[in-house]
Structures are given as C-alpha cells and as structure tokens.
Symmetry: C2
Subunit: 432 residues, 2 copies
C-alpha cells in the first residue's frame, strides 16, 4: 500500500450515494417501479458495456465517439459504456425477435455515462428510466406510455398544476408543413429542419432561413398560427394526414378517460428529425421558475431493423433522468421525510448484561418484522442515545442488570420522549 | 443508420436480463435488502468509474491494470470501471471520516467489471453484495456481520444442512504458527504464505516448501493437527494470543444465541495474507456436488488509512457475487415460481367496445392495487388468451358489447379455468 494519500472525491460529474442519499433514490425508484409494474410493465436490464458499433449505427461515428467513454479491449473489440438504453434494448428485442410475445411493455432504470461537461441537471453518471412498448402499431400504445408517465408522476403526488404533457405528431408535422409550403418532400424536409431549430435561434435568423427556402410572409404566418392552435384546429389544416388521425384518436381517448387535463397539443414539440416517426411528446415542469421540458419520447419504427433484416417491430417510449426527476420533486416539495414513519429500534447496552441477551432481543424483534440492531460501539449510555437520534432510530430499548432480573425492558420513543416498561416476552408484539 | 447488420449478442462475459431473468434478480436483491435492512444495515452506492490509483493503492499497479477495464479520459485522468467495492467505500468513509456516526452498518449491491476469462461462476460483469461494519473494534461487530450472512441465507429458505460458515482468526493464525515453528516474525510469515497456498499445491510440494523453511516432521504434524481441532482445542495451543480470545468470545456468543449450528472453526481459512487482520470466514455450500466456498470476508484495519493520515477506522465485512448466490439457490431448489402467487389481469378487447371503456376498467383495477393492463395488440380473442397465458397473467377480464350493455364483465381465472360474471362496479373489489 502506498503512503501517498489519494483524493477522497468521486470522479468529476459522478456522485457518491451515502445512506441518506440512497434512501431518497430507493424511494424514487420504488415509486416508479410500483407505478409501472401495476400497469404490467416488466423490468429488464442489459450490460453496462456494449460494442461501440451499436452507438455508431444509431448516432454516427463522430457523435458516438465524442459522447461516450469508449476504449478497445485486449481482444481488439471497441467498447463503450452505454450513454443511453435504446440501442441495448433494440439489440435485446432483435436477438429474440421471433420468440417474444408482443406487445412488450418493458422498462429499465440503468446507470449510464455520457462524456460531457457536468452542469445543473447533467452529470456524467446518471440513472435513466426507460419505458417502451414494442410491437404495437396502434395509437393505443402511444396512449398507454403517456398514461404511464402521468400515473408515475401522480404516484409521487404531482397533480395537473405541476406538470403537463405536450404532444405533437411527426407524420402530421411533415404533412402540414408540406401542405403549407407546398414544396416537394425534400423541400418540406429542409423547412422542417429550420422549424426544429426555431427555439435555438433569434426570430430574425429564423425568418431569414425560412425566406431562403422560399417561405414567404403569408406561409410563415400560417406556420406561426399552428403554435397557438388546439388539436382540432391544427389537424383541420390537413384532415387526410394519417398523423392527423392519430392525433385526434389520441386526444379523444385522453378526453374520454379524463387525462386531458394533464395534456396539451403543442406544435413546438419536434424532437429532432431522424428518429421519431409518429407521436412525439415532452413532459413540462409547470413551475414558473423551472418551466421547461423534463423528459420526453415518442414513436419510432426502425430501430430493431438495425439488427434484423426486414424486421418491422415498432416502438413507442420515453426516457427520464434521475436528476431531472429529483429537481422536479424538490421544486414542488414532493419529497417526504422518509425517516418519519419508520419504526427502527436501537437496543442499548450495559457492560453488566451479557451480550447474548441483547442479541436475542434484536433477533426476536426482527422475527416480528421490526428493524432492530444492538448498539455495537463501546460508548456510554448517553452517547448511545445521541447515536440513536442522529441515525434516525425511532425507539431505544433499555435493559440494565435490574431490568434483566425483573424480566422487563424499557422502551423509549425518541419522538414523543415517552418511556414504557414492557415484559421481555411482549417486546416484539409491542412494535408490531 | 448503417445497412450492415450488427451482432445481437451481449459483450463476452456479460448478460442480458430479459424480464423473466430480471424478475429472479429483483427477487434475490429484494430478499437480501429486506434481511439486511431489518438488521439496520443501510444501503449506499458509489460511481461505476473511479480513479485507477484507488485500485493501484490497494492491489499494486500490475494487478490493478490487469484485472480492470481501465483507460485515460480526455483530461488525462486514469480511470477504471470498479472491479470491487471496497476501495470505493473506504474512499467514501474517509471523505466524511469526521462527521459519520460510528459504528456504520452499510451495504451495497453494485454492478462491477473484472477483466478475466469468463467461466462458470465468473463473469466479466457481475453484481456483488457488500456488507460492512465500520468503526467498531470489538468482536460483536464480527458476530453481527456473520449473523447477517446467516440470516440472509435463511431469508432465502436455506437451513443448516445447506451451508456452513467456516471461521478462523488471522491474529490467532499468526500467533499459533509462530508458537509452533518458533521462528522470528518474518520466518513465521514465510511459513504462513506456504500454508495459505496449501490447498493449491500437492501434499509433496507443500512438505518440501515447509522443510525448506525449517519446519520438521514434528512441527508439521502439529500444524496438520490444527485442521481437525475445534476452537477450544486450537486456542489452547496459544491461550495468550489476542486472536484466541477473539475466537473464543465469538464462538461463545454464537453458541449462546443458537447460531453455532451454522458455524465451524476451520484453520484452513486464511484468505490471503496482506489484507485481513482478525476474524476471517468463508461460507460453504454443503451440497456434496457443490461443496466449496461461496463467499467470505473478515476484519481489516487499515483501508481508510489509504486516504486519511493517521485515520484508524476499522472494518469487518464480506462480499458475495450474484452468480454464486444464484448457483447456490438453484442447487438447493430455493428459487420459487415467482409468477405463481401474483395477481395480474389482462383486459381483453373487442372491436365493438370503445377503448375508453377498457382503459377505465384497467385504471379502476390499478387504483385498487391490482396489476392490470388493456391488451394493446390487434389480435383476435383466442390469441389474446394465448398472450395472457404466455405472459403469466393470472386472470383475463372479458367485456364484449353484450356485457357492456348489461353492466357486467366476465373474469376468467387462467389457472383454475373458472369463469365468473361480475358487476362492473364490483370488479376492483373482486381482486382486492
């Protein structure tokens, strides 16, 4: 062992999870799991290391190499630590494409790494919930994943004042743009790219780009109007579009099931141009100080085809980072005191009582389902109580030589400060 | 996207977890968590990537570089994917050494990577349970971690016919060897190294190595005898050793608490020479076809000292791999049918009933705590039932146009094949 001292800090952009941090994370993930499993989503996982070519195939070589931690193993294989889950799950579905029972309702909460500059909401190591339905082309799968996102956030106690799902449709988007600008497919595609970047440039630059593509003031006004329309007004502009039909079916079902109060049509949701093929959505934080997209997703049709020729297994889903969720829950004061409702018993020790007596008390409490431990240190009674308070124990059990002789113990409630004397053989029942 | 097809196989030595695999793993980890948390162990976690120097400091440069996936980031930092958790947790304890409340009872079940040839029980990616108590020098912490290992295995339904904890003490080991071979500390140390390798070489080679260090036949016989002794016979050979006292206290408490039936003194447990400083133990699978050490641990005193000068925070703990545990549970037939007891409802669909009706039925079941989903595919009724059976649904709900009109649904139990007709507004209560 070296004598030089090593830094105790975690690697840049990563986090240590001490027990109090882990408790919150386990609560996050527990609420998510419960909500999704109740809707019959099943959890899966894949290795942390994947072949680099998986990401190159999806995102291109430059982006894949720049955004991942990648290296070559001794066998010459180019590997990457996964920066996202979609390629892994597409690979898994492709590997068993012929034997799986569709539609699949799958989710995962893997840890992953992205090589980027750490900033608020963006870390190098993070966990990301991935929810997907594979093998259902109908709008009911789009509804089901949107419903799952709403129910998950409601599971945390969030209501319609706190978040909203903004929904658009890529087929509709392409069709309505083509209808307005009246160009061929490639021309409409170039206009779409400008629209996709709209939020990232000045109005002036946007108008200039549009003008260069032949979009005059009249057409521009028509496009602008789309951003203020509801779903019926917008789809009326191109009623024959398959995308219009999908949007109307989706919003109709949202209305009839009462979920429309959580949702809004938003022409501004595009989510890039090469990946999604139908419904697209983003979930916004409604807090005025934090009003922005937290996470999103949509329908994609071609991913499994990367692996299996002529395979046509469609998917619809979303991904949500743990840091984003934590920011949202903290902003809306939705993280409860996780220690408040727990029963957790510290059995204090005195030197003149044999250790096996304390061990047996702890064992009987645990057998009754109560969390309990004997104090393992060598400190005096007062320090043992301090330890219990700092470590969020709800009760201490006190048993000195006189209690042992009398066959009783004292139980002290650390919140109310009440003390009770209880027969030793009734102790476990006292906590049940 | 490329047109060349990519392999669908996971990277060598790693595993995909499809939902049925994940279900077993979640059950494993759930039983472990419940058992440890009931004994007041708290979960922590650390990043998957750590500074390579962390492992070099513990294991030396050659071993650290050979056994880890390591690489240099763009900032010139040498990183490794963690091959074990101990350096990370030592770093975390060191970082807050002055503010933590000792003793700490901590556990973690991280995924990690070791660069080795995949073989039975050894994969490149695995999960490892780590259980440690920091900051308690007394034997009661040694007892507490051994108790936690026993109770965890009992939590899976294992009993004393299936596993045994083999216990030794490194202080006792060193002292009794020195007492027998009668050499200076360095001489005893060299003899110890030969003994540590005993199980890996032939008896002939072992005797030759011992003879070279001056251990004659008489001394060798005394050492051989230690392997057949119980803890009282063995410790009687060097009654003044601190290690003897620790062993006797530990076994005394195991006997008085009835845990001795799970434990045995075993002089053959050494666990390397540079790391452990007191109690050492290994948990053996008692199945004749699989009789070998599954996992182990012990007391170590110096780890936190790698990071903080003059720090003296002792630890005692163990690590257990997920593959090892799975082999043990499968060998002893301890993995239950995890689907058998689950209530999981598929709501089948007919084209002439509006979707919102099915969605509302599912929502009311979920609100009552029952797992439910509407069938999302486009297949006929018989295929929907096939889907339900293959996907382990326990019940299907059937509601066609006539049931909808009558305000009822049919519920079919897929195990008993019984069918009941239930009023729509009583459906949720039926499953509670």
């Amino acid at each position: 062992m070296s004598n030089e001292k090593i830094s105790t800090q975690p690697y840049k952009g990563t986090r240590d999870f001490y027990p109090e941090d882990m408790k919150i994370r386990n609560w996050f993930f527990g609420v998510i799991r419960e909500s999704l499993e109740r809707a019959s989503f099943e959890e899966y996982n894949a290795p942390m290391l994947e072949s680099l070519e998986l990401y190159i195939a999806k995102s291109g070589e430059e982006l894949a190499k720049e955004q991942t931690y990648n290296f070559t193993d001794r066998g010459g294989r180019m590997l990457a630590i996964r920066p996202e889950m979609t390629p892994s799950v597409a690979r898994m579905v492709a590997a068993k494409a012929g034997e799986l029972n569709y539609p699949l309702k799958w989710y995962s909460i893997p840890n992953m790494y992205r090589y980027e500059r750490p900033q608020r909401g963006r870390l190098r190591e993070f966990w990301q919930l991935n929810v997907d339905i594979f093998g259902c082309d109908g709008f009911e799968a789009d509804f089901d994943v949107i419903e799952s996102a709403i129910e998950m956030l409601r599971g945390f106690g969030a209501d319609e004042t706190m978040f909203r799902v903004h929904i658009n449709n890529r087929r509709f988007f392409n069709d309505v743009i083509a209808a307005i600008v009246g160009t061929d497919t490639e021309g409409a595609r170039r206009v779409s790219k400008v629209i996709d970047r709209k939020g990232k440039v000045t109005r002036e630059a946007y108008e200039k780009d549009m003008a260069e593509l032949g979009v005059d003031a009249d057409k521009l006004a028509k496009i602008d109007a789309l951003y203020t329309m509801n779903v019926r007004e917008a789809t009326a502009l191109c009623p024959d579009s398959v995308g219009s039909g999908e949007l109307l079916s989706l919003f109709d079902l949202l209305e009839k099931t009462g979920l429309d109060k959580f949702c809004v049509f938003d022409f501004g949701i595009v989510r890039g141009l090469d990946y999604y093929t139908g419904t697209v959505f983003e979930v916004f934080d409604e807090a005025p100080e934090n009003n922005r997209a937290m996470f999103g997703g949509g329908r994609y049709d071609n991913l499994v085809g990367l692996f299996v020729k002529n395979a046509k297994i469609s998917g619809v889903g979303y991904g949500m980072g743990d840091v984003t969720l934590e920011n949202f829950l903290v902003t809306h004061n939705l993280v409860p005191n996780l220690y408040a409702s727990e029963k957790k018993v510290l059995i204090t020790r005195f030197d003149d009582v044999p250790m096996e007596h304390y061990v047996s008390l702890a064992a009987s409490l645990r057998a009754g389902g109560t969390t309990a431990t004997v104090y393992l240190g060598a400190k005096k009674f007062g320090k043992q109580i301090d330890f219990a308070v700092k470590e969020h124990f709800s009760h201490v059990v006190i048993c000195g030589a006189s209690e042992l002789e009398a066959g009783v113990v004292k139980v002290k409630d650390l919140e109310t400060r009440e003390e009770s004397e209880i027969a030793m053989d009734k102790l476990s029942a006292f906590f049940e």
